[in-house]
């Protein structure tokens, strides 16, 4: 029992003492995953809305593709971005590999299909309700997509959140393109993986607690926001 308790106690001390190394790792994780989610929302939400209301050749194929890409394996995304950014790759001259930017790119690619597919679902439901009214008022499809994105802004927090949850929790992509360099590209998940394999459990556990708490807190926040929006706007 002692062997199990000791790491827990040390972990708690790290969290409670706001350990500097721990804080750096947590902030880098947040910076990378929030940036990736932001990019994914900016790219994926309009895509999802246009897939929901648009009529263009290849639409069905794209819908199936995005739904399928929701389950994209992070290590594969990591590998592809690695190939793109490596010295010999097409984007190698930017020297982004093993930097937080590379991690943001990889996670954005991973998360965009999730945001787009969930947005498409939300907007498609709204479209079936609003379609005739919006067309009657003279809204074209692009305008209708923009209107529905705005109208569904609170429901869409769920899509953003699912994307963020995926980004913050994945390890494969950031490990490959970030390289898990101490103080530079080490994030919560890669640290947990490394420290666990080294047998240094307290830091891994402390990060695990923070990761869980963070995900729960953000979900609670989103839940509260949706409840507030429901009461405020119906």
């Amino acid at each position: 029992m002692h062997e199990f308790n000791q790491p827990l106690i040390t972990a708690w001390q790290l969290v409670a003492g706001a350990d500097a190394r721990l804080a750096d790792i947590v902030f880098l994780s947040l910076r990378v995953s929030l940036s990736a989610t932001l990019i994914a929302c900016v790219a994926g939400m309009p895509m999802g809305a246009l897939l929901a209301v648009g009529r263009f050749p290849g639409r069905r194929v794209l819908i199936v593709l995005f739904n399928g890409l929701m389950g994209l394996p992070p290590v594969v995304v990591g590998l592809l971005v690695y190939l793109l950014l490596s010295r010999a790759g097409p984007l190698g001259r930017f020297g982004l590999l093993f930097s937080p930017s590379a991690m943001i790119i990889a996670q954005a690619i991973l998360v965009t299909p999730i945001v787009a597919a969930l947005t498409r679902q939300v907007i498609a439901d709204a479209w079936s309700e609003y379609r005739e009214q919006l067309r009657s008022l003279g809204a074209g499809r692009t305008r209708a997509a923009a209107t529905l994105l705005w109208d569904g802004r609170f429901s869409l927090t769920t899509a953003a959140l699912a994307g963020f949850g995926r980004a913050i929790a994945e390890v494969g992509a950031v490990m490959i393109v970030g390289g898990n360099i101490d103080g530079v590209t080490r994030v919560m998940t890669t640290t947990i993986a490394l420290e666990t394999s080294k047998g240094d459990l307290p830091l891994a556990l402390a990060l695990g607690f923070i990761l869980i708490a963070l995900v729960l807190a953000i979900n609670a926040l989103a839940y509260a926001l949706r409840g507030w929006a429901q009461r405020k706007w119906g």
């Binding site: 609003y130 005739e132 008022l137 003279g138 209107t147 109208d151 609170f154």
Partner: protein, 227 residues
């Protein structure tokens, strides 16, 4: 007054069923009410005229192009204020922000909702939402207002209020509507178009329709609707 719409052998088929079956109709009255049993094709006909659906056959001839607006059975409100919902329609028609707001406020006042302008539209009662929808349509100053059972899901008091507003709008626009409320049809219509199973059965002035319906189908319909 001359005809404002001539419908010529209009047809719409869906899944092997003729929803609109060879409809030819000339509309000239200021206020026309389409009556008919459930599933007769009333709503479909309105949507064809409004351009929301495309006919499978036949054509529509508009002697003069009329600007249109439509009010649906269930009002669709955006998640914003009542005022912004009315402004939205005006902006889509290309009005400036200042002009839109002014016209939207006037329209809300005309439906008696100026004091609710800043309230979230979706939290208004069903009757109030329908009045916002009427204001949204009215603000566009359409020459033809199409209404698809605008009072079907409302309580009697709200229905009367909506009816009053429709009467007011009718002073400056042609009205084409469907309803299940025969009293309402009698009060609002100049002319009744009775349709059954996608076909126009009868088109008569309102007084005649309720006293002396010309066809057996209309007689049966009136007998069932007025016990």
């Amino acid at each position: 007054m001359g005809a404002w719409l001539a419908i010529d052998h209009l047809g719409l088929t869906e899944g092997g069923t003729n929803i609109i079956d060879d409809v030819s109709l000339t509309l000239a009255a200021q206020r026309t009410v389409i009556l008919g049993p459930n599933g007769a094709g009333k709503s479909t006909l309105l949507r064809l005229i409004h351009g929301l659906l495309h006919p499978g056959s036949g054509r529509m001839h508009w002697p003069g192009v009329l600007t249109q607006a439509m009010v649906f059975q269930r009002p669709v409100m955006l998640r914003t204020t009542a005022l912004a919902n009315v402004i939205y329609g005006l902006k889509l028609k290309g009005h400036t922000a200042a002009e839109s707001e002014q016209r939207a406020r006037q329209a809300l006042a005309r439906v008696g909702l100026e004091q609710l302008a800043q309230r979230p539209a979706r939290l208004l009662s069903g009757g109030e939402q329908q009045r916002v929808a009427l204001a949204r349509a009215w603000a566009l100053e359409p020459q033809l207002l199409i209404l698809d059972e605008p009072t079907a899901s409302l309580d009697p008091a709200s229905s009367r209020e909506v009816e009053r507003i429709i009467t007011d709008i009718a002073a400056g626009a042609r009205i084409l509507m469907t309803t299940h409320n025969l009293g309402q049809a009698r009060r609002l219509a100049e002319e009744i178009v009775f349709i059954d199973r996608g076909r126009v059965v009868e088109q008569t002035p309102v007084g005649q329709f309720f006293c002396l319906p010309q066809t057996g189908a209309a007689q049966r319909f009136l007998k069932e609707e007025i016990p």
